[in-house]
Symmetry: C2
Subunit: 347 residues, 2 copies
């Protein structure tokens, strides 16, 4: 029996008869510029597990060149419209940008990214996107741990595949998202009049991680109030010594992404921050912080797996005692912890 191409469009003719490629082969193809191979590797990264770890180890020596930019803000702040314009500008300037749009799958706000995605598609010409830029959405399917592991790996892969800058876009609604953006080389926080004001951003820890502020929808009433509030907060953090020791003060850029105003100034400000990182030697510090954050997340996940194994294995009796109220949850925890750290996970 001979295998012949079908007349159906799926699987695509180009794939017909080809054996499934190994991760090594996919990686080599992605490094060589094959977009489909990169897309497949990103899907594996999204799923996590040992295959994802293999990709991480492959990409690790080849990465380290790209400038990593995190962009966050409340749903509806116009992040994706802005990112779409940045991509268009960057491609026009001969760059090869990648965008990782993180969909936190956040309960009851999960729809925000999808709407934004459509707007980004309006701005970025599909032809351009197919040649010089790579835009990818990544969902976390409900477990925030997955996000903390998959994002640094996807960034490493984009970096190793020659994309620069790598832009991470995320809705700033959770600590993990703030951590992801805070681990970038340059963290951009997008604010708008009337929602997600400066006080909220401060509470969320966004002021601490921001390197550049964008007040988007600057044509709306209240934009100057947002700017003034931000300025005041920055003054306060300067006085209390929370600001960077290098004297860097996060600039505030007014923009109106929907009217295509401000994206060039946003990028010029990001570039200024990039120069500041190089001059001050802070680039290495950022990189170290990023690695530490990634290792911490990986370790937490591995330890949680070990804890689950213990709770199902050797520690099941302890857990049943706690469930039956014979011992307190704190006692059960302490004994499980001792067991876990002294004997390793139940196997």
């Amino acid at each position: 029996m001979s295998l012949k191409p079908f007349a159906t469009p799926w699987p695509p003719p180009a794939e017909m008869g080809k054996p499934k490629r190994s991760i090594d082969e996919l990686y080599a193809a992605a490094r060589g510029g094959e977009r489909r191979a990169l897309g497949r590797l990103l899907s594996i990264v999204e799923r996590g597990g040992q295959d994802a770890d293999q990709i991480s180890d492959l990409a690790h020596p080849d990465a380290g060149r790209a400038h990593i930019v995190g962009i966050t803000g409340a749903p509806g702040a116009g992040k994706s419209t802005l990112v779409g314009q940045l991509v268009r500008d960057l491609v026009g300037a001969g760059k090869k940008p990648a965008v990782l749009a993180v969909d936190p799958s956040s309960p009851l706000t999960g729809g925000a990214i999808l709407g934004d995605r459509i707007r980004m598609d309006d701005i970025v010409d599909p032809g351009v996107e197919r040649t010089s830029a790579f835009i990818r959405s990544m969902a976390t399917r409900g477990h925030s741990g997955g996000l903390a592991l998959a994002v640094p790996l996807a960034v490493r892969l984009f970096d190793a595949a020659g994309y620069d800058p790598v832009i991470i876009e995320t809705v700033g609604v959770g600590q993990v998202e703030v951590d992801v953006v805070g681990a970038a080389d340059t963290a951009v926080v997008v604010m708008t009049p009337g929602m997600g004001d400066a006080v909220q951003a401060n509470k969320a820890g966004l002021l601490e991680v921001a390197d550049v502020f964008v007040v988007n929808k600057a044509d709306r009433p209240g934009a100057n109030d947002v700017r003034r509030d931000l300025d005041l907060m920055l003054d306060l953090s300067h006085m209390t010594g929370q600001e960077s020791e290098t004297g860097y003060r996060p600039p505030i850029v007014m923009a109106s992404a929907l009217n295509a105003e401000g994206s060039e100034e946003v990028w010029a400000t990001v570039e200024k921050h990039r120069a500041h990182l190089d001059e001050s030697g802070l680039r290495a510090t950022r990189r170290q912080h990023r690695i530490r954050t990634e290792v911490r997340a990986r370790l937490a996940q591995a330890m949680a797996a070990a804890a689950e194994a213990t709770m199902d294995g050797d520690g099941a009796t302890l857990l049943r005692q706690a469930e039956a109220a014979d011992i307190s949850p704190t006692q059960a925890t302490n004994e499980l912890l001792t067991h876990l750290l002294n004997k390793g996970p139940a196997s």
Copy 2:
């Protein structure tokens, strides 16, 4: 030198000259009905640490009577207005309800609870609140781990102090909040027309944890659409076998909390679910699930602390190698994990 009361209003005269009470003394006073002692214990619980663990161990044998009700929904769904009415109804019926309003301090949405709180105060007469009910907000100060530890402990404390029911109110914007509500005896999900629709709730895993649905603002256009969507989803989950094996189908209650309509039916439906838990024997299952969730959260926090200690101690060299890109993050993680699980945390 003798200590005399000052003429200033602070510290309050009643406290003057009293030595600071121990946790045991505070606990005994709270059990005896002293509200100020209970408030202090809740503050300690919120801060976490060993003192909080001591309170947990004290309260553990005295708790187990209260019916625990979780109420969640998107910001602005009218949860607090509804909870305020439930409290008023319950106090009127001679009950002693406690409310724990969890402020997730979520970046850029953190303001929702504060606004709701003001509305709840409009509904619950301060005199009533001072005598029969206890309403407490709890913030997590940015670390979601704190929420997962503090909420079960605060609930245990309310329970031990004789409050029943204990209502946990939370904005359904994160996995931790969904977990908290899902660990209650009865989980109530509040929906409204036009926001946080059934598809989003499904995505967020809220349909899986819900025991009672409330369609609030039922006087608004689209309320019947929300109900129909929910019904359809419940039909689907029934067909695919996701629904409870006991044949319980979460009822949908139409309400208009702002017009004081529906709160009595909501509570009657919660009581029906309570009866279902007792008849089906599911109450014990819920309790076990709750303990397991709490122990898991405690264990995760303790292990994270051990991991941090290792990263700062014996594992610092490994981490520096990863930061310097001499080894990959996966390698560093695996070696740190081996170290951690075989030798215990660096001391």
